[in-house]
Symmetry: C2
Subunit: 338 residues, 2 copies
């Protein structure tokens, strides 16, 4: 089969690899209908994470079940499925508490930018759709595997409430879908921090009521200005850098909440400033599995259309071009078709 | 009047000072019935905070109103009152949100280890008791000014729930009253981290069900062992150092909560570890004013007896001995009688 392999920073190749096989009775093999490039794939692509060996890439996927192990009971060959970017048993105490991305048996997925994918812990990881989806639903369903679920978790972690004021730091696909999530949860005002015209337009389409194009201290000052000097009730941090985290914390009112989902890189939070900020801080890898049934329903019934974040679709063989387009911010998010 | 002044690390003197006067129409002057030495007073005493000029000490107090400014309407001369260690207007948006310690007009109190005290924003800061208290209630009422309210906030910030498992890092007066608070909120199991016999005994009296005397990684391992490998639902951090914060974060289950109230000193939180920990983090200076009516009622009706943390009572003139006794951990908390 064809699969996408990263050899080093900037070096992504699509090449022939052996088909995956069932290794554990809890595995499933799916034929990938669509996969995509994640903002977090850019960390190693840009050299911010080391690539120590040729690495199969991709952790977002939708597809059709080809084969299941003997122990799998909830999905079967022929079904269209979506799974989380973290395989989970969905039955351990952490899963039952709603933190499937901290499942005691978790496995971070990789290798979905390929024709076939082995999914461990299939019963706890995959959810079948009500039937075979219309083709136009596939991009939106694909987002539920990570990016939409992650934006949703950012909004949950930031305690978005009906009528509340929300600010979103980061205008990548996660930030944009954080806006959509906050809107869906009834936020009164949603302030998007973005300086890119195309992303501002999509932010507004998803529900942003204000755009702030300043960053850092100037961005914080603008948020304060828009919120009576106090800061926002809920701030979604969707980048993962020191600057973005501090911008989020400083944009939040005392007693408000920061939901952070940008994979943390080089961040050190100053304890004393955090102490006196009085913010709530919560985040981490999103428990996407928890949200799949609810979000599948919202997509299936066409109440939300998160697939709009895909502004470039490429055949799998051109995956490398997709990385470059996202790295150069020419594309918000790239869908790959095997 | 007599007042306690810190001249430098280790140098505390009680000396004659001019009586305070009404400076603003919102001020009150109270005659201090009892004050005390706070764990946070030990930071400058130990040289961890700089003392740049002779500093009137003390921010915990109960007393009788002597005089009020023209604008004061809710307390009057002759009433017995308790106030927060942070003066607040109790009417700004942050106060109304329950974060009086982030009041937009807040003033951190100082100078309560004295015979008389000026309290700014008296209407928003002071609460009168139902009448003159019996003498044996005074220590417990005094704790509501800071240490008990701070332990209470730690438990609130850590989302203590009926039946939940709680761990408490720090066996100073705040940690011990965090135990009492968690018990009052219905916690199922309360694990106190302490290696001092007298503090362990008080911890048990306040509701601790388990004592862990290991610290650092070994302490975390013990908490995990006691919680099915997961960590506690709620962890109260009542110290403020790097070690205690990391011990708290690492002792918390994914999805659980750390409530931190130890004034942060030299703490830098590693973003990536925090990200993958999946904990909720909340804390800061306690909004004591919010809790005063409820906690006064619990003390007045003798449902709780937080005053047990005072194991040394000294006349005000001997305040310096109180600092030394707490610094050397010979006393948990020292009550001063003007």
């Amino acid at each position: 089969m064809l699969a996408t392999i990263m050899y080093a920073a900037g070096d992504v190749r699509v090449e022939d690899r052996p088909d995956p096989t069932i290794l554990e009775p809890t595995d499933a093999i799916i034929r990938v209908t669509a996969a995509c490039v994640c903002g977090s794939d850019l960390w190693p692509f840009r050299g911010a994470d080391a690539v120590t060996e040729p690495t199969p890439m991709g952790h977002e996927y939708v597809g059709v079940v080809e084969q299941v192990g003997d122990a799998v009971t909830t999905v079967k060959p022929g079904q269209f499925v979506i799974g989380s970017f973290v395989a989970s048993d969905n039955s351990c105490p952490n899963c039952l508490a709603g933190y499937q991305a901290s499942c005691v048996h978790r496995q971070f997925m990789s290798g979905s930018q390929a024709e076939l994918l082995r999914v461990p812990l299939a019963d706890g990881t995959l959810v079948a759709t009500p039937g075979m989806p219309d083709a136009d639903l596939i991009p939106s369903l694909l987002t539920l595997s990570d990016v939409m679920g992650t934006g949703w978790f950012a909004a949950v972690a930031a305690n978005v409430r009906p009528g509340g004021t929300v600010a979103v730091v980061g205008d990548g696909a996660v930030g944009l879908l954080g806006i959509l999530s906050a809107k869906q949860m009834g936020a009164g005002r949603i302030i998007a921090m973005s300086r890119h015209a195309s992303r501002q337009a999509l932010a507004r389409e998803f529900g942003a009521t204000n755009i702030v194009d300043e960053r850092g201290d100037a961005g914080v000052a603008r948020i304060k200005e828009l919120t009576g000097g106090l800061g926002a009730d809920s701030v979604l941090e969707c980048v993962g850098t020191q600057e973005s985290m501090m911008q989020a914390i400083r944009s939040t009112r005392p007693g408000g909440s920061v939901g952070y989902v940008g994979v943390s890189h080089g961040v050190e939070l100053p304890g004393q400033e955090l102490f006196f900020s009085h913010v709530h801080l919560h985040g981490g890898p999103a428990p996407v599995r928890q949200y799949l049934p609810e979000l599948i329903d919202l997509v299936w019934t066409r109440q939300i259309d998160p697939g709009k974040v895909f502004d470039l679709t490429l055949p799998l063989v051109d995956a490398a071009d997709g990385y470059t387009a996202m790295d150069e911010r020419r594309a918000i998010k790239v869908l790959l078709q095997p």
